[in-house]
Symmetry: C2
Subunit: 491 residues, 2 copies
């Protein structure tokens, strides 16, 4: 089973695709660029959703649902927004099919053309701000702190499972505030929620930073982000939080009476993470044996594989396993006993390694004699034999250790691959090796564009954390700079 995965060192891209498909996370569908998220992959996404939803609610947000379709004219109302999204829209033009008059099958009914075309939402700022206009009259109606779990469609030309798909699942927060300050604070609060989620649940270190103007969301005044480093040295943007200023309020004429009774435009933020996080999770931790899932997001924490020759041994091993399972379940640990009768245990071991189950328990006749069992860790592939009694508590703390270890390992990798670069020649060399290159930049879009053109590296972000900024000279232009930014090639 595991043999079917190409080595990460050999072909990273194929290794990723092998993992996603062979570990049953997702696969390509019959519809170009759209994926099928399979049950095992969806179970991980459900865990992500549940945790994020909890964190959103703890920070005062509520969920709602807005239409899938956006009237074409809405998109045009915010100039930069339409510029950013018009080129990749699925457009609904008709509302009926009819029997093909010239043969079998169905064709679009020309009489069912829509008066105004509808765009399948690529993001929902426009339809939501058009709705908020009717909800907001006074400062007493603010803030509005709404999140939506939804599917969105962006017609991508080059797609990759989870990382870039035509349709993807995501959440989009859309908040409305009476002051600029409050909207900025919301933007910052939510990027920090994402950072906490990435670190504590995905076990994935991220850097919180600010996007440069050219990398901003279409329609935003400021875009904050979390950036992670994948094992091939490429960066991955894992979440963004936008301060939208009054752009959408002005485009959709959303004004409120403030405490003084005068009218003002409403301030906005929007923020989102998507099923792209699934791709980040896979690429951040997995190895040549398969997925490595952090326990906090693993659909199965412990898999048990019985070893036996006779029916009598089988039933005695299973009995012990059921006992341990019930003890673990009391500790909120999810257990699967793999009792399939048509597969050898070696095959099962490989399959559950591929699927990234954090802990594997094996037990055979000798274990029954000795009152022992074998515990294998997925993260570092170590095994140990232990006494059966008390194992549930051991596994419970082992899961915490594994969660920590996966994070620590990823953090170490990032630290080893984050380097200060002070001249452009070294930059051009090092960018080939990947990693976060911390460089001085003169703050101009021209320099940024030139470097991108020459090296395919982009400014991932201007970090908001880490060492305090130091003055320096731009690696490209030599002009003065007020602090290092992160350059990398990115997904």
């Amino acid at each position: 089973m595991a043999k079917e995965i190409v080595n990460r060192e050999e072909n990273y891209s194929l290794w990723y695709n092998n993992l996603v498909t062979k570990a049953d996370l997702a696969e390509n569908s019959a519809v170009r660029g759209c994926m099928v998220i399979k049950p095992y992959g969806y179970a991980i996404w459900e865990k992500m959703q549940a945790q994020l939803d909890k964190m959103f609610k703890e920070t005062g947000h509520v969920n709602a649902y807005f239409p899938l379709f956006i009237p074409k004219s809405f998109l045009s109302k915010e100039a930069e927004h339409v510029e950013g999204f018009a080129k990749e829209c699925a457009v609904v033009t008709h509302h009926r099919l009819m029997a093909n008059p010239d043969g079998p099958g169905v064709v679009v009914d020309p009489d069912a053309k829509l008066e105004e075309e509808l765009v399948v939402r690529p993001t929902s700022e426009t339809i939501i701000w058009n709705t908020y206009r009717n909800w907001i009259k006074s400062y007493r109606d603010l803030p509005i702190l709404i999140n939506q779990w939804a599917n969105v469609v962006r017609w991508e030309m080059r797609t990759r499972l989870f990382l870039r798909t035509t349709e993807f699942l995501w959440q989009e927060g859309h908040t409305a505030h009476s002051t600029k300050q409050e909207a900025i604070e919301e933007t910052e609060k939510m990027v920090n929620v994402y950072a906490t989620f990435a670190r504590e649940f995905m076990a994935m270190p991220v850097i919180v930073g600010r996007k440069t103007e050219s990398e901003r969301f279409a329609g935003a005044l400021d875009t904050l982000c979390i950036e992670a480093l994948m094992q091939d040295g490429k960066a991955l943007q894992a979440g963004t939080s936008h301060f939208l200023g009054q752009n959408f309020a002005k485009a959709f004429d959303v004004q409120f009476a403030n405490k003084e009774g005068t009218l003002d435009y409403v301030w906005a933020s929007s923020w989102g993470v998507s099923t792209r996080l699934m791709g980040a999770l896979v690429m951040a931790h997995s190895d040549n044996n398969g997925l490595v899932l952090p326990p906090k997001l693993a659909p199965i924490h412990v898999v048990m594989v019985p070893i036996f020759k006779t029916d009598e041994e089988h039933s005695r091993v299973i009995e012990k396993m059921e006992l341990l399972k019930s003890r673990l379940e009391k500790l909120n640990i999810t257990v699967k006993i793999d009792d399939r009768d048509n597969l050898r245990s070696g095959f099962k071991f490989a399959e559950w390694e591929l699927k990234g189950v954090p802990v594997r328990v094996a037990m055979g006749p000798r274990d029954l004699e000795n009152g022992t069992l074998e515990i294998a860790r997925r993260d570092n592939l170590t095994k140990e034999s232990r006494e059966f009694e008390g194992t549930e508590n051991h596994i419970c703390s082992l899961l915490d250790q594994i969660q920590d270890n996966i994070y620590t390992k990823a953090l170490k990798f990032r630290e080893e691959n984050t380097i200060n670069i002070d001249d452009y020649e070294t930059f051009k060399q090092k960018i080939e090796e990947g990693g976060f290159l911390m460089c001085h930049w003169d703050g101009t879009a021209e320099t940024e564009a030139k470097i991108k053109e020459e090296t395919k590296a982009t400014i991932r972000c201007i970090p908001l954390e880490g060492p305090s900024p130091e003055d320096g000279k731009c690696i490209y232009s030599g002009k003065p700079s007020v602090g290092r930014v992160i350059f990398a090639r990115a997904y």
Copy 2:
């Protein structure tokens, strides 16, 4: 506040719309037939989802996600299916907009026409069975027990919030089995899950039955359903579960090797409930003061309204309320203290009645003196004064009583409005009054169609429960019948 709602007796349809919009459940959007589900409405839907999802998982199902888009040609593969859905499809024909060469705004880019049009899923049998073909080789791959939470689009000409909208949210189960018997059992199991959910959580009595051939799902061999009676005497189909036979397996060539090693087509079921349940919930229980929510689905169980004149009284009342709130929260009861300073308590009372919060607690200076509080029930609008101490346990059992009472009341209403009718003249009279009319029917589609044409009544279902079938004569044709079926006008 409550005054803005028209009386149910005066205009039932407007009353319903008033409730849905004024209680902040949902509203119409800028997109024809698509609704915005507002936070309070969405919170109820989330409770429904959570409970249904739990019940699906307890019956062995897992969630997955399939594409929003369906290639046009897929729809045609199952003859009845395309007949049922082709006329109400949103069709994506292009994948790009461009700047309007003749003026402002954007237009569809004619160069971005799709080779094959995509239909926004009206239901997912076709795309899912096309996927299952690759997943199923042998009986060991079966059963597949998958559910999907998704949005779907059916281009309805006449829409009503929740009851019939162009886009709606739903879940759709799609299962694959190696035997006919197993698929039939699954179909029955899931309609019973729906019945349990409706009765125990929505406090809504339903009848489990079988649809006649003309009311079946397009592509099904058998459709089971739950039917509920609304307060205006109209029926509402609240959930369906379909036995699909081998229709989709044949249309998409999904075969498996059985234990004997021979190839056979796979057997299928599909089943779904949607945001239509929200409409059913509103119409089943609400009154002229607003919503009446069963506690098990209420986003807020208890609302507390402080009564006070001075700041000192205010802070003492709030302190007591916070104490009770914390005690209630330990019992998993959701509490809101309505401390808005710009509204009178009478206004608040009316607003929370409108929103259907099951229990209201009021407390004022005299209550502080006496160690009491006032408890009002939303379901029967009764009030009582009680001692503060121990109230949390009282409220806890009160919520159970309210849940039961709402169900009992709805059941009584249905029983009073379910009558046996044995002649067509009486039928034509009684159908004007509404209710479930239990009648003999000769089993032919012709009779069914005639009755529908003449009276707008349809056969809601052939009940699978209730009194054992008795022979009789069809009310329309006088031909022999083997049991009564339920006629009603329906949403």
